[in-house]
């Protein structure tokens, strides 16, 4: 049952992402992406990572994507349909490239002996993750927290009004 569910969720995720990347309207794209992320979160859960699943929904779908939406709307990009260049000549090779990349990757993955082995049942309680985070990986956590701080400062500096002469 869970196996089937996993595959279904996987396809939902891929479909949603595909739709996302082909939308012209950024708002639509973000909406589709949020849908994909929901599916991904559920896959995390199926793989025994409830905490990651929760964070995926809360942080990604909830915070980050909303941030994207804010920016898109703030800048008023939504109604503007930006034309996508010379069409096939441009994206034909790229699609081909992507397809071949995908084929190559999948082939390479499948070649590996570990690829055939199945993933066993696994469940990791959030508590265990927390202990590991603030035990063994506390240094990484500190570093990431600093990074967040720097990002905040950077975002603040970038977000200041332009001084004279800095504009066009």
């Amino acid at each position: 049952m869970t196996t089937v569910l996993f595959y279904i969720l996987g396809f939902i995720m891929l479909t949603a992402t595909l739709l996302c990347i082909t939308r012209r309207n950024p708002v639509h794209a973000v909406i589709y992406l949020v849908a994909g992320f929901f599916a991904l979160a559920l896959m995390f859960y199926l793989l025994g990572a409830p905490l990651a699943a929760a964070w995926q929904i809360i942080v990604y779908a909830g915070a980050i994507m909303v941030l994207f939406l804010f920016i898109i709307m703030m800048l008023g990009l939504a109604p503007q349909e930006t034309p996508e260049g010379p069409g096939w000549r441009r994206w034909g090779p790229l699609v081909l490239l992507s397809a071949s990349l995908m084929v190559c990757t999948v082939l390479l993955i499948m070649q590996d002996p570990a690829a055939g082995k199945e993933i066993g049942d696994f469940y990791l309680a959030p508590q265990a993750v927390g202990e590991s985070l603030f035990g063994r990986y506390v240094l990484a956590v500190e570093m990431v927290s600093f990074q967040l701080l720097f990002a905040t400062i950077g975002a603040y500096l970038l977000g200041r009004p332009l001084s004279k002469g800095e504009g066009q």
Binding site: C20, Q56, F68, I119, S145, Q147, L148
Partner: protein, 101 residues
Amino acid sequence: MMIPFGHALSFAAALFVLGLTCVLLRRQVIMILIGVEIMLNAASLVFVSASAYWQQVDGQVFVILLMAITAAEVAVALAMVVYLWRRKRTLVADEFNGMSG
């Protein structure tokens, strides 16, 4: 759960390639950023499946860290988007070619 590890990885690969395609194909800075997010999520998926496959906690820890870092990255990136928009009134990536030789 009776999924081969390879299948989980293949899903992640597909997701990654989709993200890459988005980055390559789209010209708007916002959409490029979205492509990056997609690729990061593919990486998360790999971490989580690997964590389950080897029955280890570390993969999940890294996913958490990854999310935090992504948050930071997005904060700066979006601030830059705003900045660029203010400077040039456009978000088409090809307009920003200051590094041209």
